[in-house]
């Protein structure tokens, strides 16, 4: 959180001309993205548009063929653990918790990169070890309370209901003290009440000073949440801008929805659901 004070000249996260080629397939072509401090940016696009690939490039899981990713103006090394240590945390499209650890332990693993105990301290369990361990536990419990899982800390992660697993993944990501949080379809498979709760949670996260990038299929959700929306179609950035601008852009409507403007309002919901049903 100390990083918040420094460096206001650069956007907190910036991708410049990211290109990703798998063999002969260009999954991403010259995609740029700018995330300013305290903002929420949405990333939408049809299935296979390259949204998750883009996330993987941002978080170092893939090394982009061309282009760079900058965090507060500093280049990010293409290595997942380095990226997380630098301050970019993520959740996964298909939930990837540590299924056989307890809820609290999952969040404690998120604290890993902010703790300093080495092997010797871990062996001896001295006073400073215990102080750090207790502090980590306390912070983890705060985060669990923040996402609304305070009462579940001793549950095995695998036994949590679906929506709670999504929230636990967010708490785990927040435990790394990120400057930027990348959420990959945080409301997939949720009912309207849960979706609304997720929206409130993301606003609350933004209010703590964390900037957020969200991939979503639920267009209504994205337009009600984000300060800026980028549309990705077949690996290319089609348009980016304020939600109401993007919403009215005829290219987006054509590429993404394939319908004339009068019908968007009524069809948007349907398209989002269509997408969801096609997901495994």
């Amino acid at each position: 959180m100390t990083a918040l004070a420094q460096d206001t000249a650069h956007p907190v996260l910036e991708a410049r001309g990211v290109t990703m080629v798998f063999g002969g397939l260009t999954a991403l072509n010259d995609v740029s993205l700018r995330l300013d401090r305290g903002k929420i940016v949405g990333l939408i696009g049809p299935n296979g548009a390259g949204k998750t690939t883009f996330f993987n490039c941002l978080t170092g899981l893939y090394t982009p063929t061309k282009g760079t990713v900058l965090l507060s103006g500093r280049r990010l090394a293409p290595d997942p653990s380095e990226v997380t240590i630098a301050g970019v945390a993520r959740t996964f499209q298909n939930i990837r918790l540590f299924p056989n650890m307890t809820v609290l332990e999952n969040v404690l693993v998120g604290r890993h990169c902010r703790m300093r105990q080495g092997p010797i301290a871990s062996l001896l369990h001295g006073p400073s070890f215990r102080r750090e361990e207790n502090a980590a536990k306390q912070r983890s419990r705060e985060l669990l309370a923040f996402v609304g899982l305070a009462s579940a800390e001793d549950e095995i992660a695998r036994n949590l209901p679906y929506g709670d697993q999504r929230r636990l993944e967010i708490a785990r990501a927040l435990a790394t003290d990120p400057k930027v949080l990348l959420l990959d379809e945080p409301t997939a498979g949720m009912n309207p009440q849960e979706t609304e709760a997720a929206r409130q949670l993301i606003f609350a996260i933004r209010d703590t000073g964390v900037s957020v990038v969200v991939i979503e299929h639920d267009i209504k959700f994205i337009f009600g949440l984000c300060d800026s929306v980028s549309v990705l179609v077949q690996g290319e950035l089609l348009v980016e801008g304020r939600p109401e601008v993007v919403r009215a852009d005829p290219r987006v409507i054509e590429a993404y929805l394939g319908k004339p403007p009068e019908e968007i309002e009524s069809e948007t919901r349907g398209a989002a659901e269509q997408d969801k049903r096609e997901k495994p």
């Binding site: 978080t59 653990s81 990837r96 056989n100 650890m101 332990e105 890993h112 092997p119 871990s122 309207p192």
Partner: protein, 598 residues
């Protein structure tokens, strides 16, 4: 309600085999009485030969009921207990107790009968032949099955919980008693059947029957809730428990097991237990399947041997034992880290093959005496015994009129080492590093996304495991007096892995128990050396089939493999509750079609 639902569960599982709950009590009484009858019936139709076991097992040389000893005594007591449990109202966990007693009676009878049939030359030995009849074994097996059936009819519910809000003195006394009983049971188990060998063909069956009894007894105690109560208490009074447990372990030489031979066996178990705990770091915590692990123990043994001042050692350096052991551990650790680094790029099955290859390289190099450091097929013999102040560790000891058997100092040393290794394991497991290991085991990509440097963590796991194995190896070489490549073959790696999995992955008592079982069984089954591995393999298959989570499972492991939640509720109950909840949600009026929670 709980009882009813579990009965239904049991019925679903085994179909029409399970009798109605009303039949539970008569079945249990009949089973118990039959077990008592079996204990008093003759078991063999002729006299085997002289010796305590067959003598008491035959018709004409058996003085019932006054001389009921050994397995007969166990059957008698189990029978009485079963009848008592069936008749006394409000026994907690009745189903579980009956089930444990039933399987105990069944195992004791079956082992003994199979042995009698096998050695007596046919079925006639255990039924009727030459005008004599002996149906003790068959009645015993039947009694066991009846008890198991009655348990199924009663229904096996949750393990009852006793209040653990007891005053400190009571808790301490209970723990003291419990650990003393454990010590007694361990010494009895070790000595059950005596030394295996040509002079004592009964060692194997007597020992196996004893294991059956011990398993039944522990199962019954667990069924009443006693084991859980003790374990919760010991968790709460952790420091006290550790001290008492350590004292109990050190007191083993004062029991029946206090002979040279059993001290050697116990020391060997300790060495393998320490190694198994080290392997548990690599396999149980970090999830890295290492099939060449025993090589690190070998490295420790050869380094220790070369620094011991043995005549066959090439180096000609003589270091005092603690220093030599430490050097051995450090070198093994370094080699562990070196071996670990190229395996970072491989996962799962591929890692297993790479480590397997490494183990093979080590054995072959040692066999061919590469570098002249291993003695090749001649091994490095004549490693001097460890000694402190002129007292060699393999000599008997006399302290203030108390005579202690030879090798007792080695035993004390290994107890302390195993204690230290346990502390290392427990501390690492409950730290940032231990959590990182477990996270890597669970999902390596997610672990990296959490900022864990997985490469570094994996190498640290290899290093830790190898260091512990190296230390154990140095002790092993000194205790044995030789270091030979023969002791560090692939089979040993597999046995160690089996010990970890059998005992329960990721737990300390599991690794110790697994190592004890796997290295005592061959010792006891010496007489059946032809069938030893067969019996051993069969036992492994059965245990893995009926208790996949291991003998002393991790809380989470149990949840994963035994269909129970962490609190010990059966998954079925939880699922039923979830379905009920789901249904009530489905009927809620504000339900939207979109909220399909599949």
């Amino acid at each position: 309600m709980n009882m009813v639902s579990s009965v239904q569960t049991a019925k679903k599982l085994s179909g029409s085999l399970v009798p109605s709950p009303a039949a539970a009590k008569p079945l249990a009484v009949v089973g118990g009485v039959l077990a008592i009858v079996a204990a008093l019936l003759p078991w063999v139709t002729f006299r085997f030969n002289d010796g305590p076991y067959p003598e008491l097992a035959t018709l004409q040389f058996f003085d019932a009921p006054l001389q009921v000893t050994g397995f007969r005594l166990h059957l008698l007591l189990f029978g009485v207990a079963a009848v008592a449990v069936a008749l006394v109202p409000k026994v907690p966990g009745r189903g579980r107790v009956l089930r444990a007693l039933g399987w105990g009676v069944f195992a004791v009878s079956l082992v003994t009968t199979v042995f009698i049939v096998g050695l007596g030359g046919g079925l006639g030995a255990a039924t009727a032949a030459d005008g004599a009849s002996a149906f003790g074994g068959i009645v015993g097996v039947l009694a066991g099955l009846l008890l198991v059936l009655s348990a199924a009819a009663t229904g096996v519910g949750e393990v009852p919980r006793w209040s653990t809000d007891v005053p400190k003195p009571v808790a301490w006394l209970a723990l003291l008693l419990a650990f003393a009983c454990v010590l007694y049971l361990v010494s009895l188990t070790l000595t059950a059947g005596g030394l295996g060998g040509a002079s004592n063909p009964y060692a194997g069956p007597v020992f196996l029957a004893f294991l059956g009894m011990a398993g039944g007894l522990l199962g019954a105690l667990n069924g009443v809730g006693l084991v859980k109560w003790i374990s919760v208490l010991s968790e709460r009074h952790r420091g006290f428990s550790i001290v008492v447990l350590l004292l109990c372990a050190l007191a083993l030489p004062l029991t029946e097991a206090g002979t040279d031979y059993w001290m050697t066996v116990a020391t060997t178990i300790g060495v393998y237990a320490a190694t198994a705990i080290g392997l548990n770091v690599v396999v149980g915590l970090a999830g890295l399947l290492d099939l060449g692990y025993v090589a690190f123990m070998g490295v420790g043994a050869f380094v220790g041997a070369n620094l011991s001042g043995a005549a066959a050692a090439k180096l000609g350096i003589t270091l005092p034992f603690p220093v030599a052991a430490l050097v051995a551990a450090v070198i093994a650790g370094i080699i562990g880290a070196i071996v670990g680094s190229p395996t970072l790029r491989v996962r799962g099955d591929y890692l297993a093959i790479v480590t397997l290859a490494f183990g093979e390289i080590f054995t072959r190099s040692a066999q061919n005496d590469i570098g002249g450091l291993t003695g090749g097929p001649n091994a490095i013999p004549g490693i001097p015994a460890v000694s402190i102040g002129g007292t060699a560790f393999n000599q008997p000891l006399e302290v203030g009129g108390l005579e202690l058997p030879g090798g007792v100092l080695y035993y004390f040393m290994i107890v302390l080492v195993v204690g230290a290794v346990m502390a290392i394991f427990a501390n690492l497991k409950n730290s940032r590093i231990g959590r990182a290991w477990i996270a890597i085991r669970e999902d390596e990509d997610a672990a990296r996304a959490m900022g864990i440097k997985t490469g570094r963590a994996k190498i640290l796991a290899f290093l830790t495991g190898a260091t512990l194995a190296g230390l154990a190896g140095a002790i092993f070489a000194h205790k044995l007096g030789t270091a030979s490549y023969d002791s560090f073959k692939f089979l040993e790696s597999v046995t160690l892995l089996a010990a970890v999995i059998l005992g329960g992955m990721g737990t300390i008592p599991g690794a110790v128990l697994g190592a004890a079982l796997l290295f005592v069984l061959p010792e006891k089954l010496r007489e059946f050396s032809d069938y030893r591995l067969l019996i051993f393999g069969l036992a492994l298959v059965f245990i893995m089939r009926f208790r996949p989570q291991g003998l002393v499972p991790d809380r989470v492991r149990r949840a994963e493999l035994a269909g129970e939640t962490a609190e010990g509720k059966s998954i079925q109950q939880v699922e039923e509750a979830l379905v009920a909840e789901q249904e009530s949600v489905d009927h809620a009026p504000e339900r939207d079609a979109k909220g399909d929670r599949s």
